[in-house]
Symmetry: C2
């Protein structure tokens, strides 16, 4: 039994997340895999000597090469090169401010793009008053900013009225598109934005400097709507069947987002009024609930809501507290349950030279996109909660005590437990690994029936049978396997039908991108052993982390990326799986494990 160890990541002065990792991993790889991008031109190859981060805790000592970099550059104690430093036990890493290069990634993901956000800082100079002095402040300001509409608050006008003297005055302003929304003579305004990914289970928000693209701070928290139902469907029921349900679901979500913005800005010593745009992504139901819009349409086929396109609206209309003229921009959805989170995730991919790929975001709902030579297909599949440990006898979330990896060594099952205690259950990745291992050992046949030859209780397998009697038994039974079969068949059905519609075979697939935290932890070999995906080369499966959040940040930083999102959403053909004539047939065929 190998133990995971905990790495705490601080961004700015704020703890961004805890990462469970196997001891011995390179800090660069761990951070990179979670979307924390550390400066360094060589891309983690250990040669440029630029990826200094401050580290505390149990890490490997610097080797001779790193020591040479340290000496040469006069680096302070406590700083380490992320690409040389291995995490051996509990440790903390402090990322002071994220660099400009978050999107310069390998493996076909999006390359750099020009930072040209919808929100821009602009400057101008108010001409001195004429001798008669009959020009109003408004007229003088219009001369200073001839290409902008003046959309200042009354308070701002009054501040300017004090600041702008008779002579020439240099001014700094902030514009959202063509609208000048803030002007000051006395300081340089910060121009910040917040990207929000509204997940059914958790919320993510990043504070971003819109001038240099730096990610200043990141915060995540549970979606407070969880009290009203774990999945999208139960939220829809709550909103439509309970009096005031929609209002309540909207209010708790907006309050949570406001509180995250407050936290992000206060940790960074700025004001929510320095935030001019919030770009929000999420699945269609979450986006409707964020706006407080009717979700009745998602209660049944054809699963259509009030809106699908991207739009922008004054933040105060949403109840979001940022700059009084600040805007919320909602990225576009595709259709059904395929939302702006998927579109944003696709924004992070580099399409150049890539002919055919799959993009999967697997959770309670699995959303899938197929790209082939400029054409797009998408569908969503109700996988159910099995992949998140739900409806599984020993299922649990990826928390301390969860078995997150299982493998076969000398014909024996080995496993890793998160944290320092005994195993308490399986999270999704552990469960998939275990079933793959059991298939490998011949303990399960092709149609998912447990062999009766196994020891222990009838019709089940227990991982820690020999543990002390007072400890919980962690195992898997026939019903758990059936649940997993249903879940993986749902995903596989979507993939197969999309491939069929596109006239493609599995060999045409260059890459399979797995988005989301879950995708990040799955072992490609196990996924393939289960037949969750058609038989692609294991090395073509790439975990790309929280691509939805990355894409939202891209859209925040680039008006072009916003437009690209619109084009993308429009060009994706949405397939309603349940209404496909071959759906039943493909689904039944997908239940078995590959031989």
């Amino acid at each position: 039994m190998v133990r995971g160890t905990k790495l705490e990541v601080y961004v700015g002065s704020h703890q961004a997340e805890e990462i469970w990792t196997l001891p011995g991993q390179l800090l660069w790889d761990i951070l990179e895999s979670r979307g924390h991008h550390v400066k360094g031109e060589c891309g983690g190859r250990g040669t440029c000597g630029h990826c200094w981060v401050r580290v505390e805790g149990e890490v490997s000592p610097p080797g001779p090469e790193e020591s040479r970099f340290m000496l040469e550059q006069g680096v302070s104690p406590g700083f380490r090169l992320a690409c040389h430093c291995r995490v051996l036990g509990p440790a903390q890493v402090y990322l002071s401010s994220m660099e400009l290069s978050p999107f310069l990634k390998a493996e076909g993901r999006a390359l750099g793009f020009e930072i040209a956000p919808e929100v821009k800082r602009i400057s101008g100079a108010v001409p001195p008053r004429t001798e008669e002095g009959t020009e109003t402040l408004w007229e003088r300001l219009a001369q200073a900013f001839p290409e902008s509409h003046l959309c200042l608050t009354f308070d701002n006008w009054n501040r300017l009225s004090t600041e702008v003297s008779r002579g020439e005055v240099s001014l700094n302003g902030v514009a959202i598109g063509p609208c000048l929304v803030e002007v000051t003579a006395s300081s340089t305004p910060r121009v910040l934005g917040v990207a929000v990914d509204i997940g059914t289970t958790s919320l993510y928000a990043a504070l971003v400097d819109l001038e240099d693209g730096r990610r200043l701070s990141v915060v995540t928290r549970g979606n407070p709507q969880k009290t009203y139902g774990a999945d999208v469907i139960s939220r829809v029921s709550r909103a439509t069947e309970n009096r005031g349900g929609l209002t309540r679901l909207n209010e708790v979500l907006v309050a949570a987002v406001n509180s995250m913005i407050d936290e992000l800005t206060s940790f960074h010593g700025v004001s929510p009024a320095d935030v001019y745009q919030v770009v929000a992504v999420g699945n269609p139901v979450m986006l409707h609930l964020f706006a407080g819009l009717d979700v009745r349409g998602f209660g049944g086929a054809p699963f259509v809501g009030v809106f699908r396109h991207s739009w922008s609206e004054t933040a105060s209309t949403f109840g979001i507290r940022i700059h009084p003229r600040g805007q919320v921009r909602i990225l576009p959805q595709v259709g059904g349950f395929v939302g702006a989170d998927v579109v944003a995730g696709l924004l992070t991919l580099d399409l150049h030279g890539r002919e055919t790929f799959l993009y999967l975001d697997i959770g309670t709902n699995g959303e899938m996109v197929l790209y082939h030579k400029g054409e797009w297909w998408a569908c969503s599949a109700a996988a159910g909660p099995a992949f998140e440990g739900g409806n599984i006898s020993s299922g649990m979330r990826a928390e301390p005590g969860a078995v997150d990896r299982v493998w076969v060594q000398e014909d024996k099952i080995q496993f890793n437990v998160l944290g320092e205690g005994p195993p308490l259950g399986f999270c999704g990745s552990g469960l998939i690994d275990l079933v793959a291992a059991m298939l490998e050992l011949g303990w399960l046949n092709q149609n998912g029936t447990l062999s009766p030859i196994q020891g222990g209780p009838q019709g089940s397998f227990v991982l820690n049978e020999s543990a002390a009697p007072e400890l919980r038994r962690v195992g898997i039974n026939q019903n758990d396997i059936r649940q997993l079969q249903l879940a993986k068949a749902a995903i596989r059905t979507g993939v197969d039908i999309m491939l069929e519609r596109a006239g493609l075979s599995v060999s045409d697939l260059d890459r399979v991108y797995l988005a989301g935290t879950f995708g990040q932890y799955l072992r490609p070999a196990s996924i393939l052993r289960l037949g969750l995906l058609p038989p692609v080369r294991p090395e073509s499966i790439i975990g790309i982390g929280n691509a939805a959040a990355e894409g939202a940040i891209m859209a925040l930083l680039s008006r072009e990326k916003q437009k690209e999102a619109d084009r993308l959403a429009r060009s994706i053909r949405y397939l309603e799986l349940a209404s496909q004539p071959d759906f039943q047939e493909v689904f039944l065929r997908s239940l078995d494990f590959p031989s």
Copy 2:
């Protein structure tokens, strides 16, 4: 001594105003003079038989011609033809709903114009859902209103989500310019607007039906800022010198306007949410205070504020409670203290066939505009409070007890008192009449010195010397006359300098329009006797009532009139009187009375 009598005017179910009038006047003339326009194609000549209004109180009995109309048309008891009915004593008139023709006026004032407001009711039909039914509500609505931007509130979307079924649905909407701001399937929305005239002393608001142009209700009240100073200059001081002064002056004004809107709408049985636009006029300081904008610029020359042009802004930004997407439009100012009230007043004038005229709005400040062959000049003069009874020993406002008219009959001074009690003082018109009468009788010489030959106290004249000892003595002294000379010289200086700049002489003036309540009551002969105006023909002087409010209503009803206001304001040349080289000379020359 002749007594005035009181006519109470009710518009809808609401008392709009009390009018003091001389007994024996035609109801048509009284109403017309105060801007209440009664239906009737013949324009009050007594021939069309259409101007029926309900009247109670002391009025003349119907004559044979009116009785014939009554019989022919089967008119209910209590209804009278306004052009036949004379008010003899206290009476009430009920105007149920004002007609479309308010602007069809005689005497060169504006002719009819097309009702084409910025706010419009539009209708559309949502197409039935396609068989797949994958169109969002937004997409269907965009098909129903292809020429509008959809700017609905989230609440409105949710209401529609319930109202719009799968089939074709007819919808009624309201658009402000290109923005669709309200849509409903279940009813026909009212499309109302409010015109507001923000005077330093009093506030006027009219609720207007934007579809047929009817004035539904009118309300006036004192400007609550009076507590903080009687005139514009003291308000400016209060706003700039007292901490929180600007906020306070803004808050009381916005609260008063909201309360007037509530009153107008509740009397008419509609909701403030049925009001989509407020058009506001007033002098520059009042408009700045309405927006809560800095008025420091009006504390000294060159008297320039934050803005001068017309603009539109969401009503909620002003704190004005109408439809959540409703707009406030501020009409443009000219410069100095010449504001949107003057521009609006000019909108009501018919320029066709009129070569040269003066427009005067006389109060504490006198604003003057000269028009000649397509060219415009304007100036304002600080007349001081004498015309409103301020700084005058027996001065008072036009309230019960005020002597409002004075004339000479058989070499003796006659006068009229408002209300039923004894005289308590002079209002402006009475004062001007008295001075004119004293000049006629030779009791004053050309330079304004009181003759010592008069009886009574030294250096003064008492109107009611023979009254009972316990009653207040109402009179005029040398200082009062000096105050009046300063006030009338200020106005005359402005008029003379404008004429001089335009290269005109008094004989070129076709008309002199006197706007405002004060102008309404002045007797042309008295004005001319004092030399307040250059010697024009008395019949060329026309009182046009509250032209500012009329113009605001026009702008509410016509986007073209709004644009005309912009063009007007831009084309008027503003003269800053105090900086004219000949100002002192002309002013001194104007102090004397004409010989």
